[in-house]
């Protein structure tokens, strides 16, 4: 027995740096949204799956740092250069925020680990609205420039960038009203105070079930997969894609991303990548994606980097056109 331990110890010292990373103390999950937000649900779902399937021995501590549209969390993580115990959860706000606000971190201050899912965007209107397809909606906006109001979460963030893109592609003009969250924009639409929003499926599902809002089209390359009907015999699969309905934006989605601070060892990145990969293959994860109507898609390494570069380029075009870029 003793011999075995000695041997093991010897092996460990010998193998030293080549030994794979394994967390030996609690890992902090830094959530770049407040409790109850989309990123919070994402991180807590990952946490619960890791715990259930014992994918990691070290305990997990979740902290919410959602201040400043999530900048608080990224700045915090960026301050722990080389620390493999700070796993940060976000969206594309990691590389978007530094372009629109003078936040004290750069996108390069964090190392990409993986993307686990893509959240969808749809155009929604009030359930009683006269518009039944995106074409008539856009035509109405063209007829009265600036009269139709889009509500969305935050300013110069994914929602407003999408609204700006729609305006640019169609030549219509909309008024954008920023709210604190997608949930607020959902209720404002259900109450008929705004004309439309571009919420994620999860943010409007409850209101759609009750027929208080209805979807016009979805910004994904193909339709949603078949699922149970949500309202009035219609389900997610029955929603046309925006491109198919005559609005030429065939893909606009938001990645659910995980990051480590810059300067961590490749071993650590590989370790978490494997854990997250296993998470994404569990039935619980498939269940989460289905319930929230997100597309489960695991991307890491070069895939993730390429996706990020492409996404960033598209967004920067909008920011430049609108004059939102900060230096």
């Amino acid at each position: 027995m003793l011999k075995k331990i000695t041997l093991a110890l010897l092996a460990m010292t010998a193998a030293g740096p080549a030994l794979a990373f394994e967390p030996t103390r609690p890992v902090e999950f830094v959530v770049t949204s407040g409790p109850g937000g989309g990123t919070d649900n994402f991180a807590r779902t990952v946490q619960s799956i890791i715990a259930k399937h014992k994918l990691m021995d070290a305990p997990v501590v979740v902290t919410n740092k959602g201040g400043g549209s999530g900048a608080e969390g990224f700045v915090y993580a960026a301050g722990y250069k080389g620390d493999p115990y700070k796993l940060t959860f976000g969206t594309n706000n990691e590389y978007l925020l530094p372009s629109v606000a003078a936040v004290p971190y750069k996108p390069e201050d964090l190392t990409p680990v993986a993307t686990l899912a893509l959240d969808e965007f749809l155009i929604w209107v009030n359930g009683q609205s006269e518009f039944n397809d995106v074409k008539s909606f856009v035509e109405a906006a063209k007829a009265k420039p600036g009269a139709l109001q889009f509500g969305g979460s935050q300013s110069k963030d994914t929602d407003q960038i999408l609204v700006s893109t729609i305006a640019d592609v169609t030549g219509a003009q909309f008024r954008y009203i920023p709210f604190k969250s997608g949930g607020e924009a959902a209720v404002q639409l259900a109450g008929g105070h705004i004309d439309g929003n571009v919420n994620n499926p999860n943010e409007n599902r409850g209101q759609w079930q009750a027929g208080m809002v209805k979807p016009l089209c979805v910004f994904r390359p193909d339709r949603f997969p078949q699922s149970d009907p949500v309202h009035d015999g219609k389900g997610w699969h029955d929603i046309p894609t925006c491109a198919e309905a005559g609005l030429a934006i065939d893909n606009y989605r938001m990645p659910r991303t995980v990051w480590l601070p810059a300067g961590v060892d490749e071993d650590a990145v590989a370790f978490y990548r494997d854990v997250l990969k296993k998470v994404s293959e569990t039935p619980e994860w498939a269940d989460y994606a289905a319930k929230t109507s997100q597309t489960s898609q695991f991307m890491a390494g070069d895939d993730f980097v390429a996706y990020q570069a492409n996404d960033r380029e598209n967004v920067l075009k909008v920011l430049k056109r609108e004059g939102w870029l900060v230096e």
Partner: protein, 507 residues
Amino acid sequence: MGNFGYLMDGFATVITAHHLMIMMIGVMLGILVGVLPGLGAPNGVSLLLPLTFTMDPISAIILLSCMYWGALFGGSTTSILFNIPGEPSSVATTFDGYPMAKNGQATRALTLAFMSAGIGALAGVVMITLLSGWVARFALQFSSPEFFAVYFLAFASFIGMSANAPAKTLVTMMLGFAFATVGMDTISGGLRLTFGIPDLIKGISFLVAVMGLFGIGELLLTTEEGLRFNGIKARVRPIDVLKTLKEMPRYGWSILRSTLIGIWMGITPAGPTAASFMSYGLARRFAKDKSQFGKGDPRGIVSPETADHSAGTSALLPMLALGVPGSATAAVMMGGLMIWGLTPGPMLFIDRPDFVWGLIASMYLGNVVAVLLVLTTVPLYASILRVPFSIVGPVIVAIIFSGAYQVASSTFDMWLVLGFGILGYLFKKLDYPIAPLVLAMVLGDKAEDAFRQSMLMSNGSLTIFWSNPLVSTIMALGVLMLLWPLIAKAAGLRRPRRPATGHPAKV
């Protein structure tokens, strides 16, 4: 089957040994997180959330909601005993609760607070039971202009409530607005007043400010005045609890008014904090004898507590019926609902009546359990004040600083607490009122967002605040409140002055 039938089914689901056990645990944990400033209900509930992933949704929501009730009760305890609000919504309770405890009537203050809190909460649940459908539709009518009108009304009903010089009130209120703007701006997406300090991006937490202004500020004063709490000589007798219960009916009118304010603010949803401030302001305004307010007037405890709890309870209705959380804690629970596989929204009442009415039944029982638990422990809490200050003082300092750290796990916040503590001390020394600063900090940010959203909607025209009967009514009420002192004066001038009989001599 009417709501009543559903409710009975709900009780049948909830009254099991298992669920009652969960209720007790939830309430006790809640009291604990409520008593510790900084931890608070939203943080407490999110800490507990992972534990509920494997539970069935009904047990899970009972655990979380009972924790919420417990935290609301716990928050009042520290407000009254140490002038440290455990929850933002119990700030208004400090105004009269702490002076009363200082006068040696801690038991009375705590009992008043807990009883009125319990009544408020039950009133909120009754409202949910009776009016769920109607209220959900009413809440939908609220948009940015209506929200602004509500905040305007909250400010207006609070104006003129402090006895200090108006200029001093204005100064502290403006400071509060400035603190509220720190951080990222919702409307423009830009950073404001952060001075390049990374720790300021998240803004200044209201809790941190309050813990410094009230907690540390008070401790500094106590230290200066000779290291003692005046309350320590008071005898703590359990019989005082019963005596206080007997005087409750006297505050019937205050309780009724505060309940209505609380329910309204909970469902709109402007939240329990706005409700408690507004209710305190109105209680003072409509009191015939205002001289005792701020010195331990029972109505100054009963009113904010009732409103706080009826708002906290009612806030769950918009969450369930519309999917819009009425408070930070409700937001966390909503996240929980989604993880348990339920979609908050109008269909929840139809799809899962067992869940919704189980929850509502548990709200009745949970609050009764909470009131009984806290009332029996009142003497225990009150005797804390008999511990010598040289022991309690340092413990409070430690609790405040660890609490400030827990708000956002930020060491910078501990420095902020210290800064606010010194500010609070100076304010008290120079006779500047703190309440307007706190009110401006809580509602300033929301009022600003609502105002600017309204301006975006109307293309910059102020007429949007008079554009429909709802918003016009609230605005008119606000203006009336604002001008009330003038109106009262004018009315008083026309009447011949009565001889000032029984007028208490000014100290």
